[in-house]
């Protein structure tokens, strides 16, 4: 409800009232755009499944090197650009990081992006850190951000082996 402002603050109050209204409209419009885009990204992640995020492990028969390869081709059905970033961490049972990698891609509206993260452990490391006995820990973090990376969500999954 607008109160009567009869004196010298009239102009300042009018400007403040206008600014508040403009900010309220901006917050509603940006929230709708941002949330719609994030929800679209989230539903693409679920419906695309393996295409959005695909995890593979390979062992080099010659060198014995073990590799964890994470590939993704996220799509964006939203109205704004999104940035999808992925971080993978391998830890030993003492929670010490033994290998980590990350990558990100920017996806325009109605477009696709691509990223690859590759982690490698030598045969000695693979056995030393307990991965051969399925006793290591893998942490996977997926970040999706929009609105010039100002808003977003992240999903962090931590899987402990040997349980």
């Amino acid at each position: 409800m607008a109160s009567p402002v009869p004196t010298r603050h009239k102009k300042a109050v009018r400007i403040l009232r206008f600014t508040v209204r403009a900010l309220e409209v901006a917050i509603v419009v940006l929230a709708i755009l941002g949330i719609y885009t994030l929800l679209s990204a989230f539903s693409s992640a679920i419906s695309d499944g393996e295409k959005f995020l695909h995890l593979d492990q390979v062992s080099d028969p010659d060198s014995g090197e073990w590799r964890l390869i994470l590939k993704g081709q996220p799509s964006n059905g939203g109205l704004l650009d999104i940035t999808v970033s992925v971080r993978v961490k391998l830890m030993n049972i003492a929670n010490e990081t033994v290998a980590e990698g990350e990558n990100s891609t920017s996806v325009p509206p109605s477009g696709n992006g691509a990223f690859t993260v590759m982690l490698g452990l030598s045969r000695e490391e693979y056995e030393q850190y307990g991965f051969a006995q399925n006793r290591g820990i893998m942490e996977l973090e997926l970040n999706v951000r929009t609105l010039l990376d100002l808003v977003g969500f992240s999903i962090r999954t931590r899987i402990r082996g040997g349980e």
Binding site: S3, P4, T7, R8, L23, F153, T157, R158
Partner: protein
């Protein structure tokens, strides 16, 4: 409708919306949903209690505003308090019941060897809401000063 009736009606509306309604919904929720929310680390009782306290505060403020003169300091204090309670409610809903996360809400669920944490980062909107709050309070103070000046001028004439 005069100011007092408006204040009372507002207070009743806040009590219905924030005190009675959440309790009715809570009492009618299936046990399965309550159990699911509980295992997800969501404290529904605390959520409803926070809403009740906010609703009671808003009702008290509405009555105070209705029964005080617009140029009184009490009225200004009540108006500012009302804005602060609404801002708290924005933080409360954006933070999924954790207002002091300031827009960075976190939900953790674990099952067997896996733990999944979902983090929503909407601090940008909290920043915008804080800016709106600051400007609104400034506007209220200026309006109050002007009203008092006008009142003093009227008395002098």
């Amino acid at each position: 409708m005069n100011k007092r009736t408006q204040g009372i009606l507002r207070a009743v509306l806040y009590l219905v919306l924030f005190v009675a309604l959440p309790r009715v919904v809570l009492s009618r929720l299936p046990a399965e949903i309550l159990r699911m929310l509980g295992t997800g680390g969501f404290d529904l009782e605390a959520f409803v209690l926070s809403l009740t306290i906010s609703g009671a505060a808003l009702a008290l403020i509405a009555v105070t505003r209705g029964f005080t003169q617009p140029r009184s300091v009490m009225n200004l204090t009540a108006s500012i308090s009302s804005q602060l309670v609404w801002f708290y409610l924005v933080l409360f809903f954006i933070g999924l019941g954790q207002p002091w996360s300031f827009g960075k809400a976190q939900i953790t669920a674990s099952g067997g060897p896996a733990t999944m944490t979902v983090i929503f980062d909407i601090r940008f909107f909290v920043g915008l809401a804080a800016a709106i709050l600051g400007l609104t309070i400034t506007k209220m103070v200026l309006e109050h000063i002007s009203l008092r000046e006008q009142s003093t001028a009227d008395q002098t004439e």
